[in-house]
Subunit: 200 residues, 2 copies
């Protein structure tokens, strides 16, 4: 006898980070939700998957041909921020401190996992660099092994176009305890030290 909740538990179990226990808990929670909320959830779930695609210019997520950033007249088209994933665009947008456009690579170089330059949107980036008048390209890529390799590769590839290339600053996270910071981060924070405003 299959339990009536089992199909829903099975669906929840397939989500990342949701084990059988959590899936059961979520399924029971759904039973306690108002019917209208569940209906709305189900509709949004299906519509989001069906109607979302990648921006044809920057490969961020969108429901149209081009994303909100690419179609905005308020953005500075002279500066392009290169990121690995659409979630990185969302993280930078949350800071409200970047007014340029983006280019989403769709991953990072990792030859062992089959991620070569051709698997990423690097050809598309080069095509944009050739067409657009970028003053600066910001590599906003996580400082992991794959991230460093990707940044290094992009640095080589983009060097010949005479555009200013920059990358995110390394250093102590805001609020971090220096004592608990790993040596590499501390070393980079030291190497990248900046002059305080009122001193020479």
């Amino acid at each position: 006898m299959k339990h009536p909740l089992q199909p829903l538990i099975d669906h929840f179990s397939k989500l990342p980070g949701v084990g059988p226990k959590s899936a059961q808990r979520l399924a029971f929670h759904v039973l306690s939700m108002p019917v209208s909320d569940v209906q709305s959830f189900a509709t949004v779930l299906r519509h989001t998957r069906e109607n979302t695609r990648y921006c044809e210019r920057c490969f961020h997520i969108t429901t149209e041909q081009y994303c909100d950033v690419c179609t905005s007249v308020k953005r500075d088209n002279g500066i392009c921020c290169v990121v690995a994933h659409p979630r990185d665009v969302m993280a930078i947008e949350r800071t409200s401190s970047y007014q340029g456009v983006y280019h989403v690579l769709g991953g990072l170089l990792s030859p062992l996992d089959g991620m070569h330059p051709q698997s990423l949107r690097i050809p598309e980036l080069i095509a944009r660099v050739r067409q657009a008048a970028f003053r600066e390209i910001v590599l906003a890529i996580s400082p992991t092994i794959e991230g460093e390799a990707t940044a290094l590769y992009l640095g080589d590839v983009l060097a010949s176009y005479g555009i200013r290339l920059s990358k995110l600053a390394y250093g102590l996270p805001v609020g971090a305890d220096m004592d608990y910071t790993d040596e590499l981060t501390l070393q980079r924070a030291l190497m990248g030290r900046t002059l305080m405003e009122n001193t020479q």
Copy 2:
């Protein structure tokens, strides 16, 4: 500009134990799922909520008037296991070592949280006890403060019906390290010690 993923992230955020970061991760995962899987998930979500109700006899979850256990001809109607939640029925069913029927209280006594005997299905349990020919009632209730209070109350209420009342054994969890077991559990394991098979 609202992000196209935001409505789905909002829905995931409302689930228990899902924070904003996990909700975003789940939403991105949905984008990577096959469309047919997402459609099936959405359908199951809505149908489960719309078609699930409580068994009119034991208050377990079901899609019909009575649940699978209550309608089964293989179950022993002379023994009734009283549990707090439908998930407890599922936990006991997974052991495959219980052949009786159930009664789901829908919670535990907790006067401070407004859970009185009338808020639970205790009147319905007494009505069943009066009608059905139960030989034994097993109180399968978690040994928490509220659980103990509920078991005590049920013990009082059911005492006059001349039915054998039992409760789950206390003791060491299988695989537990005695050294790490709390004093109360160890005390109860000692008090409830059982004779070994080949000894007197």
